[in-house]
């Protein structure tokens, strides 16, 4: 599958990635060659094959829905990672503006 520049731009938009013009062309070429390689899977007959999501079989794993405190030190570190904040509140750009 050969991707067009428009498709590369569309994918980058879905993935929320900024690309430079030079990168668009490079990714167009590289992604096309990778897709061409993986497309050989289409030749495998899987008409009666169920998809395998988990390689090691497991039943639903459940636990009680309980609140556990993370501790002051962990809390302090988590807050310390905020790129922008107001007091202990995370500041983010407005979603509706």
């Amino acid at each position: 599958m050969k991707l067009t520049i428009e498709q590369v731009e569309h994918i980058a938009g879905l993935a929320r990635l900024a690309l430079t013009e030079g990168e668009k062309e490079k990714f167009q070429r590289q992604l096309s060659s990778i897709l061409e390689y993986v497309e050989k899977l289409g030749q495998v007959d899987t008409a009666r094959v169920e998809p395998l999501y988990h390689s090691v079989a497991m039943e639903n794993v459940l636990r009680p829905d309980e609140v556990k405190e993370c501790g002051q030190e962990t809390r302090r570190r988590l807050l310390g990672e905020f790129p922008d904040k107001e007091g202990d509140l995370l500041r983010v750009p407005a979603v509706f503006s």
Binding site: R16, L17, E81
Partner: protein
């Protein structure tokens, strides 16, 4: 021999005899790391201060004759995608260059309880995406056995650190070969456990259905001891398994090939392999047979599709897992004119080219109209691959293959051609796709560079792999001996 170059078992015995202290060994590792950093760059950050404190505490326990475990006082290297509370964790990415881990990964909690010493965080491909440790934001790691060459990847820093003696053993993570392949290329032992043996809590997620944390060591027994310390069910990782008593690792591995049925998958010995690699592997298979193993040729018919399955499933999972890096709650934020532009700039500038390539690949294969043709089809072929292994294991106890078709290549050689880099993973990815355990052990040299032998086992049957690998190691007189011969 300096203690930092000895096996974990020897270092631990010397600590108990008083031949050296944990502080001695830790200092020797730190010195080796500093000395080698300009050449190999195995580490992105040394934890000198805390390491020496941990060593001192271990020495106090040895003085009181109350060591905590076989790992007490042992200096370890830790791949930089593992979280150690209060220590930087960058996963080799610019987007996390200033990120400090807020909590400990579950494996780190266990290692602290075992008394281990943490030398530092080892270099890796960005978010573990790569086969050469060249995509790291911090710059490449080089192979201690030949610094003009790559150490393999993505856990190249951990493999190089064990090989050069800047730690005694190390942890890495393996999504498609990232422990076994660098182990092979640096001439050390690397083990990818069965999916679910080790908790992934606190390991930065790459592809959640494939990722496992595992050990590097200089000997099979060393790798086994480190894995034993971190195995087992963890309530914080719902995919970690409750191990049955017979599935738990033994305290000592007693190597023997006697009576073992080992399968030789014919699809793994096709064209494209470096002649020296094939020769070393075939010689090793002959030795396994001499040591009492019964070698049977087996067939894994869907082998040729494993790499394509992997390079659809892995990027798909990557694109979902790395959506969390949006510049909002942690990591670097690059503010743009709108919210969307902020997302695009933070991610576009924070991630390197290989990470963006895989995110885009996964976004495409999961997108509307393409999901069935790529992702769903890959999941179906995944079942066929898993069935191949299950059928082979009805006849044999484990499988033997080369770890990598080639030895360590030159720095920069494959950087402009991602597909040629991906092809180097051809012998390791099927193991992750099927969730099986795999170990790579040194089996000689090809043109002076280490070659790895891979053993693949049934789910949760690491015991058999260790037994076979240890038997082989003892018969060849230890891997160090084998790799110094030319």
């Amino acid at each position: 021999m300096d203690p930092n170059l000895r096996s974990l078992v020897d270092v631990a015995a010397g600590l108990r005899r008083g031949d050296w202290s944990s502080t001695d060994v830790t200092r020797a590792c730190l010195d080796a790391a500093k000395k080698n950093t300009p050449t190999t760059k195995a580490y992105v950050e040394l934890m000198e201060e805390t390491a020496l404190k941990q060593a001192q505490a271990a020495d106090a326990r040895f003085a009181a004759k109350t060591p905590l475990s076989p790992l007490d006082g042992i200096p370890l290297g830790l791949k930089d995608n593992l979280l150690v509370a209060g220590t930087r964790a960058t996963a080799g990415s610019g987007i996390l260059k200033d990120y400090t881990a807020p909590y400990d990964a579950s494996v780190i909690v266990k290692l602290k309880q075992a008394g281990a010493v943490f030398v530092g965080k080892t270099n890796m491909d960005e978010f573990a995406m790569g086969s050469s440790t060249e995509s790291s934001f911090h710059g490449p790691t080089r192979n201690p056995r030949d610094p003009s060459r790559i150490p393999g990847g993505s856990s190249g820093g951990s493999a190089a650190a064990v090989a050069e003696g800047s730690c005694v053993a190390a942890l890495g993570s393996d999504t498609g070969g990232s422990i076994r392949q660098p182990a092979a290329m640096c001439g050390v032992v690397g083990l990818k456990p069965t999916y679910g043996r080790v908790s992934r809590y606190g390991l930065m997620a790459m592809a959640s259905s494939l990722d496992q944390i595992g050990p590097f060591g200089r000997t099979v027994q060393d790798a086994a001891l480190l894995l034993k310390a971190i195995e087992g069910r963890d309530p914080l990782d719902s995919t970690s398994a409750e191990l049955k008593p017979e599935q738990l690792l033994p305290a000592t591995v007693s190597g023997s090939l006697q009576g073992l049925k080992i399968g030789l998958p014919k699809e793994y010995f096709v064209s494209g392999m470096e002649p020296g690699v094939e020769q070393a592997v075939r010689t090793a298979v002959g030795q396994l047979e001499k040591l009492g193993a019964e070698i049977r040729e087996v067939s894994l018919p869907h082998t040729e599709h494993a790499l394509a399955v992997y390079y659809i499933l892995m990027p798909s999972e990557v694109s979902a897992n790395l959506a969390r890096f949006d510049g909002m709650r942690y990591g670097s934020r690059v503010t743009g004119g709108s919210l969307e532009e902020t997302y695009r700039l933070s991610r576009g500038r924070g991630f390197g080219p290989e990470v963006r390539r895989r995110i885009m690949l996964g976004t495409y294969t999961l997108s509307s109209g393409y999901y069935d043709a790529y992702y769903l089809q890959a999941l179906k072929v995944r079942r066929l691959i898993a069935n191949d292994f299950a059928q082979a294991f009805a006849d044999v106890d484990c499988l033997v293959t080369p770890t990598s078709p080639i030895t360590a290549w030159n720095i920069g050689e494959k950087m402009d051609d991602p597909l040629s880099m991906y092809l180097a993973d051809v012998f390791t990815v099927a193991v992750n796709v099927a969730g099986l355990p795999g170990i790579s052990v040194p089996c000689g040299l090809s043109q002076g560079l280490p070659v790895g032998l891979q053993l693949i086992g049934r789910h949760f049957d690491e015991r058999t792999l260790l037994r076979a690998a240890d038997g082989y190691e003892k018969a060849v007189g230890g891997f160090e001996n084998m790799l110094t011969k030319s």
